[in-house]
């Protein structure tokens, strides 16, 4: 998952906001403006204003240095014609399987397996399982570059059990077929611990009475899972889903460190395309458009997931 505590806390924030639509409290005080002003000024100047500037730039063909030329929506229609852009989005979609879907499924599965008894030393486990997400992702990406080395642990282990022919000659990160899944496995490793701890905490909070009731009804472990555990974790699921899906769309650091978008363009992602177009190829208008579209997709996905989960809640 990407990039560490930042996205986790944001999604947590978003998630908790959803369930408390309320009027802001307090007595009427004009001085409130003064308190909010410093933060807002910075935020508006460096987050909101650039948004509008970015929208503006996206309507131009601009090399970044000389005056740009107006091209209207061309940078956006490029999305349907430029194979590299389509490839970038396809790649993050594939990565979502590894960064979002699999960690959640694995976390759920493992949390369900673990009996709901007090675990001594849970703190130690939490620390270890959180490490992949908390340590700087540039560091973990460098670590995994070694893991994927042609003489690294994975290759060595495979050779030791006689499956050496599975190791691609170009290396895991240099082979056109394995590069993207390799990055995906990195993301899976990063997120599964967090999911496990999160769901474990959630499961511990489910009242025992629900489980007893299910058992009385004659439910086996699997039925218990679907009837009690899963619904009980609905809220956590929603948050983690939003978090991991958004986090994947944003992926940059590990691509830069592990593959540079390669081999060829096999691991290019939208954020990486933005960077290349801004700095390398002088397609600044296109870079801006890519950024705006990424934001719109994140909005849409967040809205859709929250909507779907809420509908599920009502059911």
């Amino acid at each position: 998952m990407d990039p560490g505590p930042q996205v986790a806390t944001r999604a947590a924030a978003l998630g908790s906001l959803r369930r408390r639509p309320e009027r802001l409290p307090g007595e009427a005080r004009r001085i409130g403006y003064l308190y909010v002003a410093p933060a807002f000024i910075l935020y508006a100047a460096f987050n909101l204003l650039p948004l509008f500037q970015g929208i503006n730039i996206s309507f131009y063909n601009w090399d970044g240095i000389t005056p740009g030329t107006w091209v209207g929506l061309d940078n956006y229609t490029e999305f349907f014609t430029d194979p590299t852009i389509l490839a970038g989005y396809t790649h993050v979609l594939i990565l979502m399987i590894f960064y979002a879907f699999l960690p959640i499924v694995i976390g759920l599965f493992l949390a369900a397996l673990i009996s709901r008894i007090r675990i001594r030393g849970l703190t130690v486990f939490r620390i270890l399982l959180f490490l992949p997400l908390v340590i700087t992702d540039v560091v973990t990406a460098v670590a995994w570059t070694w893991v994927y080395d042609i003489n690294g642990p994975i290759s060595t282990a495979l050779r030791a059990i006689g499956l050496g022919r599975l190791v691609p000659a170009q290396g895991w990160l240099g082979d056109f077929n394995t590069a993207l899944p390799a990055v995906g496995v990195f993301g899976l490793w990063g997120g599964f611990g967090f999911c496990l701890i999160l769901f474990l905490a959630g499961v511990m909070k489910i009242p025992a009475s629900l489980y007893e009731a299910a058992r009385v009804d004659g439910a086996n472990a699997i039925r218990e899972f679907f009837a009690v555990t899963l619904p009980g974790l609905r809220y956590e699921l929603q948050v983690v889903l939003v978090l991991s899906v958004i986090g994947t769309l944003d992926t940059f650091d590990e691509i830069y460190v592990m593959t540079g978008g390669g081999p060829g363009t096999a691991t290019s992602v939208p954020a990486y395309l933005v960077w290349r177009r801004l700095f390398q190829t002088g397609q600044v208008g296109s870079a801006a458009a890519l950024g705006i579209v990424l934001m719109l997709i994140i909005f849409a996905v967040t809205w859709a997931i929250n909507r779907a989960m809420e509908r599920g809640n009502e059911a």
Partner: protein
């Protein structure tokens, strides 16, 4: 509570103001940089302390020599301090375009020739025309027209190969074939004189269980060199040069039978296993190291690894990839090396010019010769070269190609996106994921897009 409509109206007003405020054509107006007047006296003006910021991408031995040259320059002109910013090739490419246009940017830069880098900088008025300095220091007489042409642009940056001089160097590069002398003789082979003979040598090496061509394309750029020199033997030099300079705009196409054939050849070699196994993910530096240790009969790359293999080495030799037919012209990719340019925003143009002159002096080229940097300036004395050494081979090969007018510039110079497009396409070609026809079509698409966008 305020009625919603008013709130909405105000919100819309704010948004409108923001949009209008943000809406303006991005990119400042460009004034073409004017050449500073010809200095009455060459050298560094004695006007108080000067700090020259220099950006370069040199590594290894060459980088150490640069340190030495910088120190000598500072000793010669005590009021000058050189601040050196050293990054690798890829990083410099990303950083330079935008950094050079910022207020505290560098004074002297190594700007890669071609449309993506130097062309964009000239178009943005970011490089100083060097003509007057060239006159004052006599640069134009020291090198051939070709060397000057690849750093020449019309002042508006719209035409490549003519106009003002924006970069200067006296060192050259050449791509060719290194070979392991011992292995060649052990295999009972001779130096090939035609491309088919070269291919026979490859097959022989393969049969004997050796790596025919030591190669690693994890860094993407080596692939361009492998393709280019095959292409050089099949397509005409004039065609290639015009293609890269873009002098004939969209009259020329990349999609030609010769280019397709070159692609097919390269793919064929990859499929036959002539390249190091696992080349797609391996790093260039380790390939060079491996070749130096005796792994691989041939290695196709540029003169810059002479320092790694040893300039005076007699274990390794160098030759140009031979032509298709017996007696054909000697052609390869190369030409002028990395030029030095002066940023238009510099406040120390005269000092910068003096620095460039120092770094391209005979003294500098003598020091750099042993690293495999080929001196291109007139009067370059290669008499001291010991024939039979690797360095001598490289220098001789360059001389031969130059004499035959067979030096083709680097192909990734051809459009602003060519480097990205070609490196990716070659990786796919060599991994057998696209056909030679798809390869040329894809590259032509980039080329024609650019040509039609040129005003």
């Amino acid at each position: 509570m305020v009625a919603p409509p008013a709130r909405v109206r105000i919100a819309l007003a704010v948004v409108a103001v923001a949009l209008v405020g943000a809406a303006c054509t991005p990119g400042g107006s460009v004034t073409q940089a004017t050449a500073p007047p010809k200095p009455a006296v060459t050298g560094v003006p004695d006007t108080g302390p000067i700090t020259l910021t220099v950006w370069d991408q040199e590594t290894g031995q060459v980088s150490k020599i640069w340190d030495q040259l910088n120190a000598e320059f500072e000793a010669k002109y005590p009021n000058v301090t050189i601040k050196r910013v050293n990054r690798d090739f890829g990083e410099l490419k990303s950083l330079l375009r935008l950094a050079i246009s910022s207020p505290n940017g560098p004074d002297v830069v190594e700007a890669n020739q071609g449309w993506p880098d130097m062309g964009a900088l000239v178009k943005g008025g970011l490089l100083l025309p060097l003509n007057n300095y060239a006159d004052a220091y006599g640069w134009t007489n020291r090198v051939s027209q070709n060397v000057l042409a690849v750093s020449s642009w019309s002042p508006d940056g719209k035409n490549f190969g003519t106009g003002n001089l924006y970069g200067y160097t006296t060192m050259g590069e050449i791509i060719g074939v290194y070979y392991n002398k011992q292995m060649l003789s052990d295999l009972g082979l001779e130096l090939p004189t035609t491309l088919p003979e070269f291919e026979q040598d490859l097959e022989a090496a393969k049969q004997a269980g050796q790596v025919p061509i030591q190669f690693a394309n994890g860094d993407a750029f080596p692939g361009i060199h492998e393709y280019a020199i095959v292409q050089d033997q099949l397509a005409s030099t004039d065609y290639l040069t015009s293609l890269i300079f873009g002098t004939q705009r969209d009259q020329l196409s990349f999609d030609t039978p010769e280019n397709v054939q070159a692609a097919a050849t390269l793919q064929d070699w990859a499929n036959k296993g002539y390249f190091t196994p696992g080349f797609g993910g391996a790093g260039y530096d380790s390939a060079v190291a491996d070749f130096g240790k005796g792994q691989g009969l041939f290695m196709i790359t540029g003169n810059w690894i002479v320092a790694n293999l040893g300039a005076s080495s007699t274990d390794f030799g160098f030759f140009l990839l031979p032509p298709q037919q017996q007696g054909g012209p000697a052609v390869s990719t190369g030409g002028a090396g990395f030029p030095l340019s002066i940023a238009a925003g510099t406040e120390h143009a005269d000092a910068a010019a003096a620095y460039i002159d120092w770094m391209t002096s005979d003294h500098a080229s003598d020091l750099l010769l042993n690293t495999g940097q080929i001196p291109l300036h007139t009067g370059a004395s290669t008499a001291a070269l010991q024939q039979g050494t690797l360095l001598a081979d490289v220098v001789n090969a360059t001389a031969t190609a130059t004499a035959d007018n067979g030096v083709v510039p680097y192909e990734d110079w051809a459009t602003p996106t060519f480097y990205d497009t070609m490196t990716a396409a070659i990786q796919e070609l060599m991994a057998n994921r696209i056909s030679p026809e798809e390869f040329t079509t894809r590259i032509q698409s980039d080329y024609s897009d650019f040509q039609s966008s040129r005003t």
